[in-house]
Symmetry: none
Subunit: 243 residues, 2 copies
DNA sequence: CTGCATTTGTGCGTATGTATT
DNA sequence: CAATACATACGCACAAATGCA
């Protein structure tokens, strides 16, 4: 976490910690840029660089003439809990089983190169799985696509034997620790190939959840997953509270 | 698109257009910061502000000592919800316009009575709106259904004149403060009625976001909203960090 | 309403560090 | 080693929005 050399990175880390600690509460005003300059002994430019980082993370919102409001406390519990609770939701009370569909080498297209922040044409390993409910009748719940650097291509075999999550295996087997996950949820409809595996008609509504795993907030991702979840089985619940 | 006053905004617009036009292809290098300074007649700082915008849009990737690579032609995420706190939820929605479709009295069916925790048959006010993008051409983005107690039925009029969010108006006009929001996200497809208002074919994928607003976690909700968002325009982003 | 202080936004200049070629 | 290109960091000035006297 604190491997950030630059000053603005250190300021980001400090402020994020303080927002989490409760030194600042959601709804509170952050100190003014001038105060932060004095507090950290840096120029306004450096302070603004840090604040822009917080803006990108969705923690603050700046308003000209007023100041910066804290609009979010990045979850106080470790992200793992949050992710696991999402996985639990996907499972709807039961554990999920994985079945390998394919594992192959692909060249990055526009979408993939954008996700990883690399040039088009770079090689990646693509793995497809289907997740089934374990309990009761085995119902297919989600189609999972995974992309990693070719050096981790043995991940496919690990996934079949190991019940752990992809991120956990990446850490245990390859030492790739995840410190930051970006998640996007979109709506889509099942294409023919996925629909078959999920035992639903093509065109059915589905939730698509993309996750980009990286070591730190600023680093490029080392793992990308897309879960295509049956719209009739999966819903994502959250609860927001003031304070 | 070109409603950007500041210089860096104009540079972003120009470069985005050129990337889309094909003047630059994915995999190409962008001109160096120095070249862009000369080309646009601005300082390096302004060029870098523009480039950071492109980075945030996921169009380019800068590499120290080499240059900036084009990694995508378009940013698919036009409307992104970044949801991590109540404040963020309530503050969002400033960049969208509302148009009233209908306001009527309804009796609670099974679904509605369950959501509010009341008996079937109780009377509620149901309000339908369509949200359009304010900037550029007015594109319909989401169909919004709102349910409140009949004593707040004047909410419909307020919503037309006031740019604020539903929760803010509930607080300002009726003193109903929101301290807890429960949210469920599901995938659905557009029915005929909603599809028409959103200018899309029926059956198109959509994100359905249901929110129940209450004063405290334990209290019964005083407001229920369902947003049916065009799947091609809306995505929900979150960011998780360890420690 | 006017004026003023505060606060963020935009923009310029300069210098130095670091990775790549 | 040298040249190139992006990254970090300092400084200054003025504009625009806000809130208050």
């Amino acid at each position: 976490m604190s491997a950030n050399q630059p000053k603005y990175g250190q300021i980001i880390d400090k402020l994020v910690r303080e927002i989490r600690d409760g030194t600042y509460q959601t709804g509170d005003m952050l100190p003014t840029e001038h105060r932060l300059m004095e507090a950290f002994g840096v120029s306004r430019h450096t302070v603004r660089q840090a604040l822009q980082g917080l803006k990108q993370m969705g923690l603050i919102q700046a308003q000209q003439g007023k100041g910066s409001v804290i609009i979010a406390k990045a979850n106080p519990s470790a992200y793992v809990d949050m992710i696991q609770s999402i996985e639990a939701l996907i499972a709807k009370g039961g554990d999920l089983d994985r079945r390998l569909i394919l594992s192959r080498s692909v060249e990055a297209d526009d979408e993939l190169s954008q996700a990883f922040g690399t040039k088009k044409g770079r090689e990646f390993t693509e793995i497809h799985l289907v997740r089934h409910s374990k309990q009761g009748p085995s119902v297919p719940v989600a189609y999972l696509k995974i992309w990693v650097d070719p050096e981790f291509s043995s991940l496919a075999r690990e996934l079949e034997n190991d019940g752990r999550t992809v991120a956990e295996i990446m850490k245990l087997r390859f030492g790739m620790e995840t410190g930051s996950i970006r998640q996007s949820i979109t709506a889509t409809s099942l294409n023919q190939e996925v629909a078959e595996k999920l035992d639903r008609p093509a065109g059915d509504p589905a939730l698509q959840i993309e996750r980009l795993y990286s070591k730190t907030t600023l680093a490029l991702p080392h793992l990308r997953t897309i879960s295509i979840c049956r719209g009739d089985l999966v819903q994502i619940d959250s609860h927001f509270q003031s304070q």
